[in-house]
């Protein structure tokens, strides 16, 4: 590069000749040179900026284009990944304890229409109305032609219906795949399962959400995609459930009851093997819940869990167990049982105004079901201790099963635990609790005094509960309950081979306006079997039964719930692999046997 000299000799000489300052020329030239350099630098900077801008533009356009394609394209599963881990959007299956299906999913289709694509909306509407009787052709036609661009026609279709819709041949009718919840066993265990419905719906899929029972209570677990491959195993046994529901339905019909419930529970683990409530419903086609009237008249009402009843004499054993545990009495202690008993303005009577007194042993109080005797035992214990004991047994709390209905079944307990409450609570009146709580309480007595938490989930390991009463007390209680069956109020429960122990309970229903309705009763039989080595607890409840085979209608549990429970035990004993056993009685246990009579 040829550099322009800063002081060109010709000009300098020329300037000197004219007498000018030659430095001016030098500065001029320096300025000119700087000008050139600045122009070059600016040009380079501009180029660089342009390059940088272009680079940024390209980078952002690549990112933008990628985002655009990601947003616009259909999501695709990474196909190259190896199979094995199964990720499905399905709701997990529900199985019984033997692995039989209680609830599963089925692929079906929903039908929707895009009227803009329709060729002949009028024809399509008439054809659709012919296929689906519940659709109205006129209304459908109006909806097809009122300018909307999308509408649902049906949520689920059977394959036959789908074929018929295909045959209409209208391009505006579309099918969207649907996972449908299916309960193959129909009405069986309907109150446990509850039901499911569609939640948020899209064209390609719909959410299935639980609407009641365990489906709703464990909705998050069932919908969890990580666990959708592992089915939920319930403690329910399908065979036992089917048999119990069958016998219970027959018993309910024979005893002219308006409802019935049964709970079968393992006394050691608290696993509920069967939970039945009649009348029941089909969870595949769950009826709408009743808006008006008594909720307990609806088939959706779960009597075994939601029903909060005064459970009557079945509570006497709790008073006796506590009194024995406190060392106040033993089975032979004689207790004042002189009926009727006056307490303030209240009179406590026995069934049919009997008088089993003046003194009755504790064992006989249970066997004969003496209200007055139980009341005196309650008074010995005292209100505070009694309340604490019933609370520790869980009888004053809502039941704890994995059902959405369970926490709502709050026990009805008076605000103030006065002495009359102590008296009535000791024979099961004045406080109302769920039958499931009663089953758990009897399980505690049957298993030797360990608290039992009822559960519907089958599991190899259960947390052991706390001890509530001593093993000796529990054993003595079971022996007393066995006497109820051999010579007390529940002689009809004497199933040969399965030594049944239990307690009957008859409680009149409270009337709307107050007081009790003598014609409407709740009959309960809480039983433990086999008595010599207790394994299971069965609670049978009949709602407003009346036994009419005798000369006068009978409404006591001994005539209604007890035979039903006996038939259930006779039927399910062999199914559970329980070998019938010959009962051995110790010699000193042989006493004069009273006439078998059934009364409260």
């Amino acid at each position: 590069m040829i550099r322009t000299p800063l002081r060109p000799l010709a000009r300098i000489l020329d300037a000197r000749a004219k007498g000018e300052n030659p430095d001016v020329i030098e500065r001029e030239n320096i300025a000119a040179r700087h000008e050139v350099m600045r122009d070059k630098d600016r040009g380079r900077a501009e180029r660089r900026l342009l390059m940088l801008g272009f680079g940024f533009f390209m980078a952002f356009s690549v990112i933008g284009a990628r985002m655009g394609t990601l947003a616009a394209s259909e999501p695709v599963e990474p196909r190259t990944a190896s199979g094995g881990t199964e990720i499905t959007a399905q709701r997990a299956d529900i199985l019984d304890r033997q692995g039989r299906i209680l609830a599963t999913n089925m692929l079906t289709y929903s039908l929707y229409a895009q009227p803009h694509d329709m060729v002949d909306p009028v024809h399509a509407a008439t054809e659709l109305a012919a296929i689906f009787p519940e659709l109205d052709a006129k209304a459908l036609e109006r909806r097809f032609t009122d300018g909307r661009s999308f509408l649902w026609v049906r949520k689920v279709l059977s394959p036959e219906q789908m074929q018929k819709v295909h045959e209409i041949g209208d391009p505006g009718l579309y099918f969207g795949p649907r996972e449908m919840r299916l309960y193959p066993n129909g009405n069986l265990a309907s109150h446990v399962l509850g039901g499911a419905a569609f939640g948020a719906e899209g064209v390609d899929s719909a959410e299935v959400i639980g609407t009641a029972g365990i489906e709703k209570d464990l909705d998050a677990r069932l919908r969890d995609p990580a666990q959708s491959g592992t089915p939920l195993t319930l403690s329910i046994d399908l065979t036992l459930q089917a048999n119990i529901e069958e016998v219970l339905a027959t018993g309910m019909r024979m005893m002219n009851a308006k409802g019935a419930a049964a709970i079968l529970m393992d006394i050691h683990t608290g696993e509920i093997l069967s939970l039945a409530s009649l009348p029941n419903f089909d969870p595949n086609d769950r009826p709408a819940s009743a808006i008006s009237g008594d909720p307990s008249d609806s088939p959706l009402f779960n009597r075994a869990v939601q029903g909060v009843y005064e459970l009557g004499s079945t509570f006497k054993i709790f008073a006796v167990a506590q009194a024995m545990d406190l060392g106040l009495v033993n089975p032979e202690t004689l207790v004042d049982a002189n009926a009727p008993m006056k307490w303030g303005k209240f009179t406590i009577r026995e069934f049919e105004n009997h008088n089993y007194g003046p003194l009755l042993s504790v064992s006989d109080i249970i066997a004969k079901s003496s209200n007055v005797g139980a009341a005196h035992i309650g008074l010995m214990i005292g209100g505070e201790r009694q309340q604490a004991f019933l609370k520790s047994m869980g009888l004053l709390d809502p039941p704890t099963a994995e059902l959405i209905e369970a926490p709502g079944a709050k026990a009805l307990v008076p605000d103030r635990w006065s002495e009359i409450v102590t008296i009535t609570a000791s024979y099961g009146h004045g406080i109302a609790s769920s039958p499931l709580n009663l089953a758990a309480g009897y399980a505690t007595i049957a298993n030797g005094g360990i608290k039992v938490t009822p559960t519907l989930l089958h599991s190899a390991h259960h947390e052991p509960g706390v001890r509530l009463i001593t093993a000796d007390t529990a054993k003595a209680c079971v022996a007393m309950l066995r006497r109820v069956v051999t010579e007390g109020t529940a002689t009809l429960a004497n199933v040969p081979g399965y030594a049944v122990a239990g307690k009957t309970g008859t409680a009149e229903k409270p009337k709307k306006g107050g007081g009790y309705d003598h014609q409407k009763v709740i009959n309960t039989f809480a039983s433990i079997f086999p008595a010599n080595d207790p394994k299971y607890v069965l609670v049978v409840i009949l709602d407003e039964p009346v036994e009419t085979s005798g000369p006068a209608p009978r409404r006591t549990a001994g005539w209604t719930s007890v035979p039903v429970a006996a038939e259930i035990i006779r039927r399910i004993g062999p199914l559970m692999g329980l070998r019938p056993q010959v009962e051995t009685t110790s010699l000193d246990g042989l006493t004069a046997v009273s006439e078998p009579k059934v009364s409260e």
Partner: protein, 135 residues
């Protein structure tokens, strides 16, 4: 030497390009096949779940009960009874073959039942003989 090297490297590039071209299409083919297999697996899974649902539906206790009632003539099925459970002692095994008695048999016992009236009437009897017993 150099031209040979150029030719060789050109040929190598050509070969590698051909190989890469083939590999590309082979991979795409494999991916397509894999997608097809996975679609089939998904379809089969759906079918299995449908079959399981159908199996459960056909085996629902209500239907089995009705079938047992319908076919009672042929099957004679009744609900299980407690009496049907027994012990192994109740099983009637064939009687063991009797021993052949060939020699002398000596028995010992009381002639009269022991009562207060005849306290001393005890005697020992001996039977001698040959008994041939055939099972």
């Amino acid at each position: 030497m150099r031209p040979l090297l150029y030719v060789a490297s050109f040929l190598a590039v050509l070969g590698l390009a051909f190989w890469a071209y083939r590999e590309n299409y082979a991979t795409q083919h494999q991916l397509k096949q894999m997608a097809a297999v996975q679609d089939e697996i998904a379809k089969l899974r759906d079918e299995i779940s449908l079959q399981r649902a159908e199996w459960a539906y056909l085996n629902r206790p209500e239907r089995l009960r009705d079938l047992a009632t319908l076919n009672f003539d042929r099957l004679g099925l009744l609900p299980m009874e407690p009496e049907q459970l027994g012990t192994s002692a109740q099983v009637s095994y064939p009687a063991p073959p009797m021993l052949k008695i060939t020699g002398t048999i000596e028995t010992e016992g009381l002639l009269y039942p022991m009562t207060g009236a005849q306290p001393n009437d005890t005697a020992t009897t001996g039977t001698t003989g040959k008994e041939e017993q055939t099972p």
